[in-house]
């Protein structure tokens, strides 16, 4: 939100993008009038004179010219207004003798006010919009224009480590709710002149600021076009958070898999921007969106780049194994114990059969009971306050599992299976992907209950068919496995040594594909 100070035809932020505010707005674009009191009354009338609307009237200059400054208490930094607006106006405007309001306005803006952000607007709607965003509106008697002074200063959370995505090594900064802080976090990491931040105000009634970021010259222009088109077509009352925008912008609402990544970490966003993706920040939500993503992005975590390539590669392989376990292990348990007893080595088969002697339920029912119990525990653990939540998780798991085994409801092997599944599903960097796998796991368990191993393989085929026909902003979800982009394989499971990570991912068809010049 960079204003060019002092000029009437300053680029208004509403004029960026092809926003349809005029058509959908039921507030009329009524221009301001010259009379200060009429303006004040009108504004107070539209807002129905709320308690926190503060009006400070004063007279400036030798001629005791009437001025008033309006702001909304709680949204503004009062000290700033006092020091930068009221003080200069009252004390430094004394000697001038000016007759017309226009000249006063020019003088005020050019020579008196010490504020940084200054702009102008001419309609009630815009003025109220500025008021509600934390700016102060300065009205001068005789001027049919309002001077907008940026003075926002509200309490917001300080930058701290992201809760959901902690890593061992790497920056511990996470996004907060205030969008200005968030954009500053991005700018600090990427001091790139080609970084474009395009602002939108989305939501008819909430006017939430949404910022779309990309690096011009790297990202494919069609991608930017499409993303812009999708954002601009959102017409609802409020986009509550980045999750809502994510759902509006996704290609398919039927797929359980995430088509747009969300993250609290600035380094993930800047990493994505440098790869040729687009980032989106939403005011009021610490989760940023990165689009487009494909299946391979779910396996990556920024931590992989801060460590040695061998460790990173092995960790990624382990993650892939964890993905496999988290999805298929309960289903494999069901199919091995119900259908294909021959596949278990003899001694193990006998011992499992012995352990299951007294258990009343078939393995299928047992598996479902335990899995559902685990899901309940997980949900409960999130709602409870931190210290209790962790205890419940551990206690719940141990005690319930132990008790269930002693009571003979489940067999010990099932408890092990469920525990391993739960641990594997927590080892992902991407929470949305972990959730999708949870859903898929149940579906595969049902398939295994009907057809055993055959059911599992058919479900696997079905998931692949789904991936292959799923597109995220035009890129097939199964890229770079199919279509094959060999160059991109350097960074999916294997994380090649840094000397070899020269190019940006081919699948994003970036304009500038070299990120590192050879020595």
């Amino acid at each position: 939100m960079f204003y060019r100070s002092g000029r009437r035809n300053s680029r208004h932020r509403y004029q960026q993008g092809k926003h349809k505010r005029q058509q959908n707005n039921d507030r009329e674009a009524i221009p301001l009038v010259s009379s200060i009191n009429a303006n004040l009354d009108r504004i107070a009338g539209i807002l129905k004179a709320p308690e926190d609307l503060v009006v400070r009237s004063f007279k400036i200059g030798v001629n005791r010219h009437a001025c008033a400054i309006i702001c909304i208490d709680g949204l503004v930094d009062k000290a700033l207004i006092q020091n930068q607006v009221i003080d200069p106006l009252l004390h430094h405007f004394t000697e001038q003798q000016v007759d017309s309001a226009n000249k006063i306005a020019t003088l005020v803006v050019d020579e008196v006010l010490t504020s940084f952000d200054i702009g102008e607007n001419e309609t009630y709607e815009d003025s109220i919009g500025s008021l509600l965003s934390g700016d102060s509106v300065l009205l001068i008697e005789g001027l049919a224009t309002a001077i907008i002074i940026g003075s926002s200063g509200w309490n917001s959370r300080s930058v701290e480590e992201p809760q959901t995505e902690s890593i061992i090594r790497g920056p511990r900064e996470g996004f907060v709710e205030d969008i200005r802080t968030n954009t500053s976090l991005i700018r600090r990491r990427l001091r790139e002149p080609n970084l474009r931040l395009i602002t939108y105000k989305l939501g008819e009634r909430a006017r939430r600021t949404v910022v779309m970021m990309y690096i011009e010259g790297i990202v494919h222009p069609d991608l930017v076009e499409e993303a812009k088109r999708r954002i601009e077509s959102i017409e609802i009352d409020d986009v509550e958070g980045s999750g809502t925008i994510e759902q509006w912008m996704s290609d398919s609402f039927l797929s359980p898999f995430p088509l747009i990544a969300n993250t609290e970490r600035p380094d993930k966003v800047t990493g994505g921007l440098l790869q040729g993706r687009i980032g989106i920040l939403v005011d009021g939500d610490p989760f940023a969106l990165v689009l487009p993503i494909t299946f391979s992005s779910n396996l990556q975590s920024p931590e992989d780049y801060y460590q040695n390539w061998l460790i990173a590669t092995l960790t990624r392989i382990m993650r892939l194994g964890a993905a496999f376990l988290a999805t298929f292990l309960p289903a494999l348990y069901i199919s091995l114990l119900e259908f294909h007893h021959g596949m278990i080595p003899s001694k193990l088969a006998f011992s499992i059969a012995g352990a299951r002697e007294g258990v009343p339920f078939p393995a299928v029912v047992e598996a479902f009971i335990m899995e559902i119990t685990l899901e309940l525990l997980r949900e409960a653990g999130i709602r409870l306050p931190k210290p209790i939540g962790q205890t419940i998780g551990i206690v719940g798991g141990l005690v319930i599992g132990e008790a269930a085994v002693s009571a003979g409801i489940v067999s010990p092997v099932m408890v092990i299976v469920v525990a391993v599944t739960a641990i594997s599903s927590f080892s992902f960097p991407s929470y949305s992907f972990a959730i999708s796998l949870r859903m898929v796991r149940f579906a595969i368990m049902i398939a295994a209950a009907f057809f055993g191993l055959y059911g599992i393989i058919l479900s696997y085929i079905m998931i692949n068919i789904h991936f292959v026909n799923l597109y995220s902003f035009g890129i097939p979800y199964s890229t770079p496995f199919a279509p094959l982009f060999w160059g991109d394989w350097k960074d999916i499971i294997l994380r090649a040594p840094v000397e070899y990570l020269k190019d940006r991912p081919r699948m994003l068809q970036t304009r500038d594909s070299i990120r590192m010049k050879r020595k």
């Binding site: 398919s252 021959g342 003899s346 088969a349 006998f350 059969a353 012995g354 078939p362 009907f450 057809f451």
Partner: protein, 398 residues
Amino acid sequence: MGKRIHGGKCLIAVCALTLLSGCWDRVEIDERGFVTGVAIDLVKKKGEEANEESSAQQFKGTYQIIVPAGLRSGGNESGGGGESYFNISASERSIMALTARLATKTSRTPYFEHLAIIVLSKDVVKGKSADLADLLDFFLRDNEMRRDVKVLITDGKASDIFNIKSQNEKYPLAYIESTLKNNFKSNYMLPPSRIGDIHEQILKDISFTIQKISHYEDGISLVGAALFGGDHAFVGFLSGEETQGLNFMRQQIKGGVVETQMDEQIVDFEVERAKSEIHAYPDGDSFRFVIKVRAEGALGKSIRNLDVAKLSTITAMEEAFAKKIEAVCYETITALQKEYNTDAIGLLSYLRQNHYRSWLKLKDNWDEGENLFSDAKIEVQAKVNIRRLGNINQSEGE
């Protein structure tokens, strides 16, 4: 895109309805009766059916089924509450009927995927009406069993073997199973005979051997071999030494001891590996064979005051062992050629692989018909290499 997914998902929904009718193959693991071993004996049925078919005999099959709960040692409950296995038997004319009959006798239906051992009594495989191939047909055809199942032939009653108590193992078949793999310690027994290999040997119409198991009061013994000749009929048993010779000539040695005498004292040689090369030279209509055996290993037991550090001693020992090996081999050859007329050494296969055209001519007359095998000249040349001497030199000084 939405349309396409809807179309596909509709089809899936339709199929889901049909699936709700039930899962057919789901069987709880603890409802299975794991059969680990099958023993087959011959039972002559007297009386009524003597006029029906010439085969008035039936097979008595004994199945050993595991009780998994009894396998748990220690644990929460006091262990040893029950046995870990039980044997049930029935008599029928075929194995398939046996299985069906046994299903009516026990709560756990017989389940063969973990079948490990089949024991056949020698009466069952002797003649035309009791045929090895017929018996094994069920075990080969049904998908539950693997070709890895081991077959053993026994002298007496096969079902007696299933009642042996063992100290170390929980059920008799575990005892048998681990013992039959011990051919790396003793070369008086054959390597395990897999049913798949037997099937191939029957198909190739060659003679072969199967492991022999004998029953004593305090356990079992796997010394010796059961010999099967033309038309895969049981011909006889080989003794321990004859089996050793056979092992040497067929390159089946994985370990074991060769014992001989030097200066009227016993010396032992521990074989680690042995190679055998067959060479065939045309000899009239038939062939003359030279079998070269090379054995390598360590000195097991020496004479107490023999200085083994000297090269001459070692050489003398090596020669003594080599002669012993040759003697054993000749013993086997004599038995095979004169007594049984059966080529279990694999010479016919060798001819097929290396002298194909001649093989085509004489394969029907090898150990049947003209019995060319019995007249063939076979020479054995053995060489022994003692590589290690053990920890000490002499156990008693000069």
